[in-house]
């Protein structure tokens, strides 16, 4: 089955080729982890590498700020808009949901023939909807985009992901999406580093390791898995000390006959 490539080579490797077509992907992480950058990169790469036009739906950030931030990564969103390949839309969740929520998106999807969409953010969407209706409305949005044949990425601001808590959303939205990428800030040797892990991917195997990533001048760059540390998911990693066989023997952790000749 063809995959939907993020265009970030190491991430596509972790996804065993890319996301599944029309999948709803949640990118969860706290502020400053690069969720917006990853979403823009997913859309820009979709246009430039896969010929799939993209829509960026924002409930918070003004488009002029998004153009500016994207330009710092070398992505000329205005040019892509002029070419009819991309649209940034800023609206509020209540307007999106007015009239069934479908009118506004339907028109925009048709206008550029969008195949990918990023929703920034599902957490902002949740702020406008009563908790008892949230799952239903989020489910309706996800199903609508799937029915239109779009692969979608939903950003989720998850401030509680520092420390020991591992709850992605407290309102059960993680059950509605097909895949979850967790972006996490980790303290190692008194410095903050970033780690990415695929928590869930329906219908496909994937790399389960936590890998380091950086936000470079070209966007998100995924590096090697963290090694030599423990307690990474707690947010505060400790280096694993490697003891020599001699040390292990002296500490009584191995017997004399277990030492290599």
């Amino acid at each position: 089955m063809p995959r939907i490539k993020s265009g970030i080579p190491e991430l596509d490797e972790m996804l065993y080729g890319g996301f599944m077509p029309t999948d709803a992907v949640m990118v969860a992480g706290s502020a400053g982890t690069g969720k917006t950058t990853m979403a823009l990169q997913y859309l820009v790469n979709g246009i430039t590498q896969s010929g799939e036009n993209g829509l960026y739906l924002s409930f918070e950030q003004m488009p002029d700020q998004i153009y500016r931030d994207a330009a710092s990564f070398g992505w000329d969103l205005k040019k892509l808009e002029e070419e009819g390949k991309f649209r940034i839309v800023l609206t509020s969740p209540d307007i999106l949901l007015a009239g069934g929520g479908e009118n506004l998106l339907d028109e925009l999807i048709k206008e550029i023939g969008a195949k990918r969409i990023a929703v920034d953010s599902l957490s902002h969407f949740a702020m406008f909807i009563d908790e008892d209706k949230l799952r239903l409305e989020a489910y309706r949005l996800i199903c609508f985009l799937k029915a239109k044949g779009l692969s979608s990425m939903y950003l989720w601001e998850a401030p509680q992901l520092m420390g020991n808590s591992f709850s992605i959303t407290e309102v059960g939205l993680s059950f509605l999406v097909d895949s979850i990428l967790l972006l996490r800030t980790i303290e190692i040797d008194s410095a903050l580093r970033k780690g990415l892990v695929i928590v869930k991917m329906r219908g496909s195997d994937h790399d389960k390791r936590l890998r380091e990533y950086e936000i470079t001048s070209n966007g998100v760059k995924v590096a090697a898995p963290f090694s030599g540390y423990e307690g990474i998911m707690s947010g505060s990693a400790r280096r694993v000390t490697s003891l020599s066989e001699e040390d292990l023997y002296r500490k009584g952790l191995i017997k004399k006959n277990e030492r290599k000749k």
Binding site: D64, S92, A98, N103
Partner: protein, 101 residues
């Protein structure tokens, strides 16, 4: 079709109108209620209502119903035409002004 002079008179009739046009041109993807648009330029719905209506009449902005909500957005094509007309008007004005100096 309004002349370049008439268009400029509508666009720059007051500061609120200029702020509205500037915001929508910088953020062409903005789709919001009049109240939401007003908030984004630091004003109230009552203060922008008339100016939004004038810009809709001129064609720079577009008003439509989404369910029971009225929403405002920029009309990208019409705005391009208007910018072209204003540009031509200012271009023609230039030699006349130079002649007067």
């Amino acid at each position: 079709m309004a002349s370049g002079q008439e268009i400029l008179n509508v666009l720059l009739a007051n500061e609120t109108r200029a702020d509205l046009v500037t915001m929508f041109r910088k953020n062409p993807g903005l789709i919001d209620s009049v109240e939401g648009v007003a908030r984004r330029i630091g004003r109230t719905q009552a203060a922008v209502q008339e100016d939004v209506a004038e810009l809709v009449k001129l064609g720079v902005l577009r008003s439509r119903k989404l369910g029971d909500r009225e929403v405002i957005s920029i009309d990208r094509l019409k705005d391009k035409e208007i910018q072209k007309d204003v540009g031509e008007f200012l271009q023609n004005l230039k030699p006349n002004l130079q002649g007067k100096v």
